[in-house]
Subunit: 239 residues, 2 copies
Amino acid sequence: MNPRERRAARHQPPNPEADADRRRRRTALITPAQVIDTALGLIAAEGYEALTMRRLAGALDTGPASLYAHVVDKADLDELLIGRLCAELVLPEPDPAAWREQIRGVCTQIRDQYLKYPGISRAALAMAPTELEAMRVNEGMLAILLAGGVAPQDAAWAIDALLLYVAAYCLERSIARQRSTQDDAVWVVDRAELLRRFAALPAATFPHTIRHAAELTAGDGHDRFDFTLTLLIDGLARR
Amino acid sequence: MNPRERRAARHQPPNPEADADRRRRRTALITPAQVIDTALGLIAAEGYEALTMRRLAGALDTGPASLYAHVVDKADLDELLIGRLCAELVLPEPDPAAWREQIRGVCTQIRDQYLKYPGISRAALAMAPTELEAMRVNEGMLAILLAGGVAPQDAAWAIDALLLYVAAYCLERSIARQRSTQDDAVWVVDRAELLRRFAALPAATFPHTIRHAAELTAGDGHDRFDFTLTLLIDGLARR
DNA sequence: TCTATATACGAACGATGTTCGTGTCAAGCT
DNA sequence: AGCTTGACACGAACATCGTTCGTATATAGA
């Protein structure tokens, strides 16, 4: 079975018959699971843009060409990684009384997974909607919202909005994190410096920015994340 | 003045004295404005990932090295492009009675600019918060929300959420658009095909996805975008 | 006139994703 | 047991990317 066929299978409903009866080498020196694991390890340690076919191959003690026996593309590798991420999410049994906390919990899990592998949310944004594990997550979130009494159309669109926001939030944070570890000035991540720059702006054209510089730079931890999720979920409850 | 200094100046409050009294070549063969224009033209025609230093240089009838007299980085080029995009946005005079329509209007403008230059929202997500034109947009949105009676902290965080969502929405759309024009199967963009795949899923594990396949694939044009903006803005109004 | 400086650009460097050709080895068929 | 087939492995190379170096040129101030 080609990597190309393996990939197509991941976007098709599972077919138990086709899974068996395939010749395999008795001892595969490199397994797809191994590729995924070391790739995730690389990302966790050095960020997504450190994930290079060459570096990944090097971590597996081989050359870049060897990877293409297990993976059709780099896009395919991204897909495998996101699939693994999605597979590790635990989806709660829908509880109509607790749907808000449940949907928030799932989003928080996704957020933490994205942040654990900085920059990988970029790959998530490019993910095809037919990936099986991603659909499992979608199904789980849909179940929670429907159990909470959200209208189906609202639920479907809200899931999309939530996933999009979480990915963008994590992507932005990962970029900022990377900036702070490698950079040579210009990029400001320090809050005090940011306040100083706001204060130095011309008062005639930036009155509100100057007056509310504190609020604009506020938000420790995931305050902004929590705020937006509350906005979306509460808005959903009130329709 | 180096490109490096020009870039730093864009993140500093404007200083009229420093702008004048600089030696310039009488006829600059390549101007920064020209670079930005042809870069945007390239993106509009072929998408963001067609924007290569070499292709941009080629479009200007020169070699790649010549660009580095006007631009310090590719990241710097991104910054210039986003700056131009932001500069073209028209920010309305805040009207307390119409703040919802106004903030929505600004978001729609941003969306249309992002979609006009497919993929450029990726650069927007990496933008430093101190870029002058970006701060102008922030100030304008802040003015609208404050005039509408939104609490300063809510306003600050809501602007962040809105900008993040708009960028993610456009990025996802641009990726899908690109897929549909270059691709060799696997990637499904056709709604009918998507419905067919949903229907073929195992009913035991995907009950809600199957039942509500219509809602999951619904949304012509910018229905999803409008839905999420309504959710966020209405939620903001009700706090 | 002289000098400093912004601009221009050919050539090259290192790194990237990917392909080609070739080789190896286990599993199925006859 | 021998042969074929298909999956796996990998060295070498290709095209392309962002970027730097060295150098040439022309202009604005001294």
